[in-house]
């Protein structure tokens, strides 16, 4: 069975690359899904999507932070 949060994390992660505001939600969703999938002993699927969503969220968050810090310190 596929963990639905994994797909959600992937979608949120892709959105976070355009709109940084989605990044925290992608990270939260991706991390929780990944933990759940690991703890399920193979019962839950979707680890690739969860990790990809998590990665995209982290990239989106880093971009947002870099942009904000640059703006505030310029």
């Amino acid at each position: 069975m596929r963990d639905r949060a994994a797909t959600r994390a992937l979608v949120l992660g892709l959105l976070a690359l355009w709109f940084g505001i989605f990044a925290p939600f992608a990270i939260w969703s991706g991390f929780r899904s990944w933990r759940r999938i690991r703890a399920s002993d193979g019962e839950l699927k979707g680890a690739a999507s969860a990790v990809a969503g998590l990665l995209a969220g982290l990239i989106g968050l880093a971009t947002m932070v870099i942009g904000a810090v640059y703006w505030l310190t310029a």
């Binding site: 690739a48 990809a52 990239i59 880093a62 640059y70």
Partner: protein, 557 residues
């Protein structure tokens, strides 16, 4: 495992094509060496550049490093508006030789631009003009450029040279193009200008204007979107056109620089993605094309180029002129930054242009409110300027008000507030428009008959625009104030012995006595047009330059 790697590669690819790639490309311009500039040939005027003081806001500077303030107006008669498909006034320079001037035409919303117009601008103390051009006239057929149009521009540049005025060449557009389609009765193509017919791709969408806003037209939005997405390589053609213009004036310091794209409309895209992923990367590519800067990654052209893409050197190698970058149109509507505010290019001579239309095109104007009781902008007139200062600093660009204007009935509120903000923020301006037929916003009244190019000079405009102001100063912390009600002027600054002189312009309308304190040694130059120039050389420490209040000698009506 393969699925996981594929997804991660997908994420990385999307990241490169979206904000992460755009931000990294912008930040990379801070570490890429700026393209080397060589001193240009000397001319009637000093070459302008953007100075970048450590810890301070970049500013437009002359060859002595002084902050330069440009004041000017925008004559619009070189633009091609609809519904016709040919310019109303002749492009042949012979029609304007020896101070000749073609007859005004009711077919144009603007009178012809003639040499006497530049004289009149100079008499108001303007030291620059912003000269809007139409892409439809520059490249009427794909790949075929119109040299006679540039001859006409060069003629105006020569007139400006005689008067020691700078020219900002402006690649203009309004609602993308007058070739978007006549559509129904809501469409008035006499307000539209810009792209040639072959570059106006509307995909058959209907031309219908919503709420009398020329930009709120599906055909306009579609054609604009197709431009930003480089459909059929039309953006590449635009860059070639820009290079065609820049090549002509490469060695001419009278041309202060180029405005790449007027009031960029996002089309169907939304901010901030439009500005950060389409508009400013387009600006970077334009700068790459004409300066030879190599910002951004080498990419394909002819179809959509992502934000990380740079552009090939088009062989102009113009590394001296200023590049004026208009913020997106929605910034003008909100008086609020609609982009991330990242550096655009390693090329140092970048100027952020804002169009200041507070209470005219800002959101509050959608509501029936008095200007004095407007609910927006919350920060009043200063909101746009204070935020623009921050944006310019973040972009490592100078700040300039490339366009502002208002109905004459709003001069005592809007115009007087705008010029005070410009003083406060040490920015120059270009007033829209210089002259206009019909009941418009021109500096002059409309002509009483079609044979005249204008009526009389509007006294309220003369009072507020013919100002005492420092044209150049070495003191970046200087402050000044001109009181347009009584002609009084005070400038306070600080200087060291040997600093270049501060030059203060006093228009003929202002007749008050000039005084300075011991901080400067001043020479007063009486000019033939009745204006005065104060050349104040610092002798060390704080200084004050003042003009005593005296009733203004207005010539207008």
């Amino acid at each position: 495992m393969i699925r996981r790697i594929a997804l991660e590669l997908l994420i990385l690819a999307v990241a490169v094509l979206t904000y992460p790639g755009a931000v990294l490309t912008s930040l990379a311009t801070r570490v890429i060496p700026a393209p080397a500039a060589s001193p240009g040939p000397s001319g009637a005027l000093a070459w302008l550049h953007v100075a970048h003081p450590a810890g301070g806001r970049p500013f437009i500077a002359d060859d002595q490093g002084r902050l330069v303030l440009l004041h000017g107006a925008i004559p619009a008669s070189l633009l091609e508006f609809g519904p016709g498909t040919a310019p109303v006034y002749p492009l042949d320079t012979a029609a304007y030789a020896d101070r000749m001037c073609p007859a005004n035409s009711a077919a144009s919303r603007y009178p012809p631009l003639c040499q006497d117009d530049l004289d009149a601008m100079a008499r108001l103390g303007f030291n620059s003009i912003r000269l809007p051009l139409s892409w439809s006239l520059l490249e009427p057929e794909r790949g075929k450029f119109n040299a006679s149009y540039l001859d006409r521009v060069a003629q105006i540049v020569d007139w400006a040279r005689e008067l020691r005025m700078y020219v900002i060449v402006d690649m203009h557009q309004n609602a993308y193009s007058h070739y978007v389609g006549a559509g129904d009765s809501t469409v008035d193509l006499s307000y539209d200008s810009g792209a040639p017919k072959w570059a106006t791709i509307t995909d058959g969408l209907p031309s219908h204007v919503v709420d009398k806003q020329r930009e709120l037209n599906a055909a306009v939005l579609e054609a604009t979107t197709n431009f930003w997405y480089d459909r059929g390589g039309i953006q590449d053609e635009y860059l070639s056109t820009l290079a065609f213009v820049a090549r002509r004036f490469r060695d001419d310091p009278v041309v202060a620089g180029y405005s790449i794209y007027n009031e960029p409309l996002p089309g169907w895209s939304l901010p901030p993605g439009f500005e950060d992923l389409l508009l400013f990367p387009f600006y970077r590519r334009a700068i790459d094309a004409i300066t030879g800067a190599h910002d951004g990654l080498p990419c394909w052209s002819g179809i959509l180029m992502p934000a990380v893409c740079g552009y090939r050197d088009l062989g102009v190698d113009d590394r001296r002129h200023l590049i004026f970058l208009d913020a997106g149109l929605l910034r003008q509507v909100t008086d609020f930054p609609t982009h991330l505010g990242m550096p655009v290019s390693s090329y140092p001579n970048v100027v952020l242009s804002i169009h200041a239309y507070t209470h005219i095109f800002t959101l509050d104007n959608l509501l029936p409110q008095l200007v004095s009781k407007s609910s927006y902008p919350w920060g009043g007139y200063d909101q746009s300027y204070s935020l623009a200062e921050r944006e310019a600093r973040a972009m490592d660009a100078a700040l300039f008000v490339a366009e502002f204007g208002n109905a004459p009935s709003d001069d005592s509120t809007i115009l007087s507030a705008q010029v005070l903000e410009q003083e406060k923020h040490l920015t120059g301006f270009e007033f829209w428009p210089w002259k206009e037929n019909g009941s418009g916003w021109g500096v002059y009244n409309p002509p009483a008959s079609t044979s005249d190019s204008s009526g009389c000079l509007r006294a309220s405009r003369e009072r507020l625009l013919a100002r005492v102001y420092p044209r150049a100063t070495a003191d970046l912390t200087a402050s000044f104030h001109y009181d347009s009600t009584d002609g009084g002027f005070t400038m306070r600054g600080h200087g060291r012995p040997g600093d270049p002189a501060t030059v203060v312009y006093v228009p003929p309308e202002v007749t008050g006595q000039v005084s300075v304190d011991d901080g400067v040694r001043a020479v007063l130059s009486q000019e033939t047009d009745g204006s005065r120039l104060i050349l104040a050389s610092p002798s060390g420490g704080d200084f004050v330059i003042a003009v005593a209040p005296t009733p203004l000698a207005l010539a207008g009506c």
